[in-house]
C-alpha cells in the first residue's frame, strides 16, 4: 500500500511537470505578449525595458526553471492584464469555482444515484424511460445554449432568478443546474448499466435465494459492486465537470477560475494562463489520486504495487 501511494505521487509530479513544460512552451511559441501590454506608440527602447523588467529576455530554460521554482513557492508572477500578483487573482476566483463545482457535483450525485438505481430496478418501465430521456437530453443539450435560454426565460421574462454573478443561494440555481445536468447524465447511465450487470450475477442470486429482502439486495449487496466502474470513471467525470465549468462560468458571468482562464486567454495574459492550467491540473491530479485510494477501499480484490 505504501509503495502504491509513493508510486502514484511520483507519477503525479511527473505528469504536472510535463504539463507545465508544455504550457510554458506553447504560451511562448507564438506572438509577443508585450504587443498587447504596451501602448501603440511605444519605442524599441520601451519594449526592451519592459522585456528586461518582466524577465522575458532571459534564455527559455532559465525562464522555465525560475517559473517552476517560483510556482512551488506559490509565486506565479504578475498578471500582464491587470498588473496584480497572479496568486491574488487565484485566491479571489478559486473559492467561487470550488463552491459552484461542489454544489453542482452534490446536485448531480443526489439525482444520479436514485435515478440510476431506480432505472435499473424498473428496467424498461416508465421510470426507466423517463430517466433515459433526462440523460439523453443532458448529453445532447449544448451547455452554453441551455444557459442562454435559461437566462432569457427564467431571469429575463419570468424574473424568478438573477441572470448572473455571485451572491446568495438564488445565484447558484441556474449555473449549478446547467452544469449538473450534463455531468449527471453520464454518471446515471453508467450506474444503471453497471447495476443491471451486477443484479444478474451469482452472488445476488444467492442473496435472493437465502431470503434477503429485495431492497437489501439492491442497496446493500449490489450497489457497492455496481459503484466500482462509476468510481473508475470519477476522474474522467471530474475533468468533464471542470471543462463544462469554463463554459458555464463564462455564460453566467460567474467570477471563477474558468472565467479567469477565458479572460486571460483572450488577453494573452501568459502568467495567468500558466497558473490556471497548472492549478486546474493539480486539482484534477489530486482528485484522481483520491479516486485511486477510494477504489482500493471499495474493491479489496485490487492490490497495487
Amino acid at each position: 500500500m505504501r509503495r502504491f501511494v509513493l508510486t502514484r505521487i511520483v507519477q503525479s509530479v511527473v505528469t504536472l511537470l510535463v504539463l507545465s513544460l508544455m504550457v510554458f512552451l506553447l504560451a511562448r511559441a507564438t506572438g509577443d505578449p508585450l504587443s498587447l501590454v504596451l501602448p501603440l506608440g511605444a519605442t524599441q527602447e520601451d519594449y526592451e525595458n519592459a522585456r528586461h523588467y518582466l524577465g522575458l529576455d532571459l534564455p527559455l530554460s532559465v525562464q522555465y526553471v525560475k517559473f517552476i521554482a517560483n510556482a512551488v513557492r506559490g509565486d506565479f508572477g504578475i498578471s500582464l492584464r491587470v498588473r496584480r500578483p497572479v496568486v491574488d487573482l487565484l485566491w479571489e476566483r478559486f473559492p467561487n469555482s470550488l463552491a459552484l463545482a461542489a454544489v453542482s457535483m452534490a446536485l448531480s450525485l443526489a439525482l444520479a444515484f436514485p435515478l440510476g438505481v431506480l432505472a435499473a430496478v424498473h428496467r424498461d418501465r416508465a421510470l426507466d424511460r423517463a430517466a433515459k430521456i433526462v440523460a439523453t437530453l443532458g448529453q445532447a443539450l449544448p451547455t452554453f445554449w441551455l444557459g442562454i435560454v435559461l437566462i432569457e426565460v427564467v431571469a429575463g421574462r419570468l424574473q424568478w432568478l438573477p441572470a448572473g454573478g455571485t451572491g446568495d443561494l438564488s445565484h447558484y440555481v441556474m449555473p449549478a443546474f446547467t452544469l449538473a445536468w450534463f455531468v449527471l447524465a453520464g454518471i446515471m447511465r453508467l450506474l444503471r448499466s453497471s447495476l443491471l450487470e451486477v443484479l444478474d450475477s451469482d452472488f445476488v442470486r444467492t442473496a435472493r435465494a437465502k431470503g434477503v429482502p429485495e431492497a437489501g439486495v439492491v442497496w446493500r449487496h449490489a450497489l457497492r459492486n455496481a459503484l466500482i466502474p462509476v468510481v473508475t470513471f470519477a476522474g474522467v467525470y471530474f475533468a468533464i465537470l471542470v471543462t463544462t465549468a469554463i463554459v458555464v462560468e463564462t455564460v453566467f458571468a460567474w467570477p471563477g477560475m474558468g472565467r479567469l482562464a477565458y479572460e486571460a486567454i483572450t488577453a494573452r495574459d501568459f502568467p495567468v494562463i500558466q497558473a490556471v492550467v497548472l492549478v486546474t491540473a493539480l486539482v484534477v491530479v489530486v482528485a484522481n489520486f483520491t479516486v485511486d485510494l477510494l477504489y482500493v477501499y471499495l474493491d479489496p480484490r485490487i492490490r497495487y504495487g
Binding site: 445532447a140 450487470e197 469554463i246 492550467v277
Partner: protein, 278 residues
C-alpha cells in the same frame, strides 16, 4: 431481422442522413448567400412572426445575414469537425491501445499511464490555449480535441486486447511464428473493430458539442465563417430583442447531437452490449 435490429432508430437515422445531405448540397439548398449582409433588414424575425417574410424563413442576424442559410452552411463545419476529429482520435487511440495491449510489460505500462493522465485533462482548457497560441482555425480545433480524445479509444481497446491475448487463437498464432505486426493487424484489430465502430458513433455527438463550445468561446472556427457555436455567441447580446439569432443554431446542435447519440446507443445495443460509454 430479429431482436434489436427491428428497433432500428428510424428517426435519428433520418435526421443524420438529412444533415449529411444538407452539408453536401449546402449551396443548392440555401435560399441566400450566408455572407451577404442586408443592412436594411437587420434582425428580421422568423417568417411566422409579425414583421417576418418568407424571404428569410428563420429571420436575419445583426448584419442582416439570412439565418437559415448560415445554419445550412454551419452544418458543414460541425459535421466535418465531428467526423475528422473522431477519425483521427480513433486511429491514434486504437493504435496505441493495440500496441499497449500486445506488449503488456514496460511499454504497455508507460502507454497506459500516459493514457490515464490524458484522460483526466480538461479538453476545453487545452483547446483554448492551443486556439489562442496557434490561432483559431479549423485544424487547431481538430488537433486540440484529438490530442485528448485518443485516450478514450486507447483505454477501451486496451481492455479488449488484454482479454483477447488470453484466447487460444492468439496463442496458436504466436506458436506458428506470426510477427507482432501480423498478430496485431490480422488477429487483434478485426476483433476490436465492432467496439471501435460503437465508440466512434457515440463520440461524434460529443465532439460536435465541444467544437460548438469552442466556437462559442471564440476559440473555434473564426468569423465570418458560419459555425453554430459562434452564431449562438453572436446572438447572445440580443437575446431579449432578437431571440431567434441564438435560438435556432442551438436547436440545430441539439438535433444533430441527439440523433448521433441515439444512433450510437442503438449500435452499441446491437454490436457490443457490454460496452460502457465514457
Amino acid at each position: 431481422m430479429t431482436g434489436p435490429m427491428r428497433r432500428l432508430p428510424v428517426g435519428p437515422a433520418l435526421v443524420i442522413v438529412l444533415f449529411v445531405l444538407v452539408a453536401i448540397f449546402a449551396d443548392v439548398l440555401s435560399p441566400d448567400d450566408p455572407y451577404e449582409q442586408h443592412l436594411r433588414a437587420r434582425f428580421t424575425p422568423p417568417a411566422w412572426l409579425a414583421g417576418g417574410s418568407w424571404q428569410h424563413p428563420l429571420g436575419t442576424d445583426r448584419l442582416g445575414r439570412d439565418l437559415l442559410s448560415r445554419i445550412i452552411y454551419g452544418t458543414r463545419v460541425s459535421l466535418a469537425a465531428g467526423v475528422v476529429t473522431v477519425a483521427v482520435s480513433a486511429l491514434a487511440g486504437a493504435g496505441i491501445g493495440l500496441l499497449a495491449g500486445y506488449h503488456r510489460g514496460r511499454v504497455g505500462g508507460v502507454l497506459m499511464r500516459a493514457t490515464d493522465a490524458t484522460l483526466a485533462f480538461p479538453i476545453i482548457l487545452l483547446a483554448l490555449v492551443l486556439a489562442v497560441t496557434m490561432g483559431p482555425r479549423f485544424l487547431n480545433v481538430v488537433i486540440a480535441i484529438a490530442v485528448i480524445l485518443w485516450a478514450r479509444y486507447a483505454r477501451v481497446i486496451y481492455g479488449e486486447v488484454v482479454s483477447l491475448m488470453e484466447r487460444d487463437f492468439i496463442t496458436m498464432a504466436r506458436a506458428m511464428g506470426c510477427s507482432a505486426l501480423r498478430i496485431i493487424a490480422v488477429h487483434l484489430f478485426p476483433n476490436t473493430a465492432h467496439t471501435l465502430i460503437v465508440l466512434v458513433s457515440l463520440q461524434i455527438g460529443y465532439v460536435i458539442i465541444v467544437e460548438a463550445a469552442l466556437s462559442f468561446l471564440g476559440a473555434g472556427i473564426p468569423p465570418p465563417t458560419p459555425a453554430w457555436g459562434s452564431m449562438v455567441a453572436e446572438g447572445r447580446e440580443f437575446v431579449t430583442s432578437a431571440w431567434w439569432v441564438s435560438f435556432f443554431p442551438g436547436v440545430a446542435i441539439l438535433l444533430v447531437v441527439l440523433a448521433f447519440n441515439l444512433f450510437g446507443d442503438w449500435l452499441r445495443d446491437v454490436l457490443d452490449p457490454k460496452l460502457r460509454q465514457l
